[in-house]
Symmetry: C2
Subunit: 337 residues, 2 copies
DNA sequence: CGCGAGTATGACAGCGCTGTCAACCGGTGT
DNA sequence: ACACCGGTTGACAGCGCTGTCATACTCGCG
């Protein structure tokens, strides 16, 4: 019941360790009968190659690092789940690294992580994937990496993304279609690219509908519950409050709902509230949030896939857009007349 | 800017690699002046020891595995955050492993993980920490492990826990104190120890208050939103519905709120709803949930601490209870007369 | 002043693999 | 019969560390 090594397997299959290595790494030029003998030995000994030995000896470690600095649990969880799913397929190990605190020397820390773990590559999630110093450092050390929803296309990396601007247009159009004209927008965290894009999409639609921009109805938020709550209180205190609020993520939308409930305002009869992301929260608040589904898990999976492919082939792949979709639930309704 | 090795450091500090190793591992018998020279070299070369080489050569890998099979994002996130925090302190690497799917051969998988990663030990979270086959297998291979909130005290491991039963008594007493007598309870997932304990605590208090048990008011849930929602719909359809509902976690409580809202029942005026765990969700639903704070992050941190200590000293530590506390918010109020 | 008992340091093997290179095997073309 | 070639296999070095053991150095004390 002890740990078995490649020597044990080699002995059991009556081949050299090198042949075992070949079989395990799917190298060519192994006779089928030999391959089967080796696999049988692997099975029966319940052998698992040592990652440490592999990464020390070879050029691959089968470890991928996932860097994040987004404090939302749901976001993180989806990210992680998507990346893990893809990793498991090719028996990669995923190492999670939180870089929320270190803004300055993030590049140094990332390189340290690479040195320590011998990670083959990194998956960078938003917004850490937009740190130019980090990207430069990785490129200089030729560490392969991919980005999830980056700001501008990184020069040296593949990435997955969704069209935030189009998505914002869709949900704004949904509100406009319900007859709303006084629509407020609670903007996301200024550090996040998505916040900018979503605001642009909102403005696109409003302009197309011929609605005059009104800065009173645009509030700065930070993608958290609290800021959505505060912004909505201010909006509701206006002489003529909005008939609809587009919050640029679900947490802020939940905050908006809270403020509305407290002010005894009926959603959606007196006020429509729309969110963004379709996280777990959007399904458990009351009323259930109309929102846009952001396919985080899928984006993470695709990005990880791009990375793994790159590790195998050496070539970057094309950026890949993942589809969003509008999810209409109960928090939006016709504009009051 | 290339990766530097222990040889580089040794050369820079004009010592042997063994001495560098000594300094980095805080071994005794190194002259202070030598130590400083080495540290300076480490700094200036930005040296990070290779985990692979370390674990191959030595008996420690500085890797800890965290096993979970609880699909709640918030639970996971807290777990992970707590464990990571402690790991960082001693430069341990945390490896997350989801074992949701594999119920049967979980033991085999865990040992495979150990073989692959050379992990020094495992942190097992509830409910996976209650798989006897897993615990046995780990013990047989003498893999150090600790548990978070295990069912029965594992023989060969330290663990951290909270007193679910007492916590349930507290929140039940809170409801009783508000004058409620017809209190329904939505029980948690039968696989989770906590579910049993919380139900016992509830019954303790009800009995102490002299309330006759009423099986109509006890519903089986599964710690998810949906089951809380369904159970509550059934409860509200009763000839004489309860005046208060204790849901054994926040997700189910959120489901209860949803059902109440849909039935146009005012919370807390007509119905009180209490949750359990004090997760993020309890602060964003309306009305904000009265609940019990379950210190998951702290439990994870403490358990990880126990593991790391054990790795250093070889000795188990005492089980450690982490304090919960009642959090009264807006979802509970006086019983209607 | 020399000797024993630490104290400080280094030489070296080897952890479990992969990469390199050489060897071998059987069929082909001439 | 022989050189040749591609497919198949194995011997062996070495990745960057730690553990073991040997060695050199230091200090107190007889």
């Amino acid at each position: 019941m002890q740990r078995s090594t490649i020597d044990d397997v080699a002995q059991a299959a009556a081949v050299s360790i090198k042949t075992v290595s070949r079989v395990l790494n799917h190298e060519p030029n192994v006779r089928e009968s030999t391959r089967q003998r080796v696999m049988a030995a692997v099975e029966s000994l319940n052998y698992h190659p040592s990652q440490s030995a592999r990464s020390l000896a070879g050029s691959r470690s089968y470890v991928i690092g996932l860097l994040y600095n987004n404090p939302s649990a749901n976001y993180m969880f989806d990210l992680q789940t998507g990346a893990m799913e893809r990793c498991r397929q090719d028996r990669f190990q995923l190492i999670i690294h939180d870089c929320t605190r270190r803004r300055q020397d993030i590049a140094k820390h990332a390189l340290g992580l690479i040195d320590q773990t011998h990670a083959d590559g990194l998956v960078l999630s938003a917004p850490v994937c937009d740190e130019p110093l980090l990207l430069d450092a990785l490129h200089q050390r030729s560490v392969p990496y991919v980005c999830i929803a980056p700001n501008q296309s990184p020069h040296h990396a593949s990435y997955s993304f969704m069209d935030d601007r189009a998505a914002a247009r869709e949900i704004t159009d949904h509100l406009l279609g319900l007859g709303h004209r006084r629509i407020a927008v609670i903007v996301g965290h200024p550090d996040h690219y998505s916040a900018v894009q979503r605001l642009l999409g909102f403005k696109d639609s409003m302009k197309a509908a011929g609605v005059e921009p009104n800065m009173q109805l645009q509030k700065q938020g930070f993608y958290d519950f609290e800021s959505g709550y505060t912004a909505t209180r201010e909006l509701l205190a206006l002489a003529t409050p909005p008939s609809a609020i587009l919050a640029c993520n679900d947490d802020m939308a939940a905050g908006a709902l809270m403020a509305a409930h407290e002010a005894n305002i009926n959603v959606p009869n007196d006020l429509s509230v729309a969110g963004f992301d379709d996280t777990y929260i959007s399904k458990v608040v009351w009323p259930r949030l109309t929102t846009v589904h952001q396919p985080i898990q899928e984006m993470a999976k695709v990005a990880t896939d791009q990375l793994i492919r790159q590790l195998k082939s050496g070539a970057q792949s094309e950026p890949k857009r993942i589809d969003h979709c509008l999810v209409v639930r109960d928090s939006t309704g016709p504009a009051p007349t």
